[in-house]
């Protein structure tokens, strides 16, 4: 089955710094979602990026499909960015989630 590895497991930044999150998966996927999970637990879809580069706000995702990897770049981090970032390739009728990167942005 699909295996998903995310790195780093945790990250601490000072407000204003940039973050680079990595996601590697074992089987080719035709869709890859990045999610943000707040400390309270709600799951928000940030980006759907099956290949190439996509931007939304301060977020940039780059997915290299044939290498089975994706990255999420957060620019000019804010304290409200603190939480857990999850990637999930779509294998059809199910997402397989990584263990996430826990991000803490200090003021």
């Amino acid at each position: 089955g699909q295996q998903v590895q995310q790195s780093p497991a945790s990250l601490v930044l000072q407000e204003g710094e940039n973050a680079e999150l990595q996601c590697n998966f074992s089987s080719t996927a035709t869709q890859l979602q990045w999610f943000y999970q707040s400390p309270g637990g709600s799951l928000v879809s940030l980006l759907s990026n099956p290949s190439g580069t996509k931007h939304t706000g301060r977020l940039t995702s780059t997915t290299v499909t044939k290498e089975r990897r994706s990255s999420l770049h957060i620019s000019s981090s804010q304290t409200t960015d603190s939480g857990t970032y999850l990637c999930a390739p779509n294998m059809g009728y199910k997402l397989t989630f990584g263990t996430g990167t826990s991000l803490l942005v200090d003021p």
Partner: protein
């Protein structure tokens, strides 16, 4: 804007009781899902339904049974809950269920089994 709704937000119960969680989506999607997030925060698929038909059942114990009245509703019943069922249960939906879909999640139902 929330388009996948779950009730209740939180439920506390005793071992052996039956519980039922509700999920509704207003996106007009054909496919709905239940995921479980355990105490280690790992999110795993439990069930997928497409137009009221079961598509995926990921080796879930038989005490769990999904119930779909129409494609906009997918409920989850747990007969005789166990302590290891304490978790957050997340409902999601997507347009077709295909591998190119984007899935949209509800706020979750947190279950605590005493």
């Amino acid at each position: 804007e929330t388009a996948v709704f779950q009730t209740p937000n939180y439920h506390v119960t005793q071992v052996g009781n039956e519980v039922s969680f509700n999920c509704k989506q207003t996106l007009g999607h054909d496919t709905m899902y239940w995921y479980k997030q355990d105490s280690k925060k790992l999110l795993k698929i439990m069930f997928s339904y497409n137009n009221k038909q079961l598509i995926v059942n990921e080796t879930v114990p038989r005490r769990f049974s999904p119930q779909s009245s129409d494609k906009a509703h997918l409920n989850l019943r747990i007969k005789s809950v166990e302590p290891e069922d304490s978790a957050v249960y997340l409902c999601a939906s997507s347009l077709t269920g295909g591998a190119r879909d984007t899935q949209y999640f509800g706020p979750g139902t947190r279950l605590l089994v005493l």
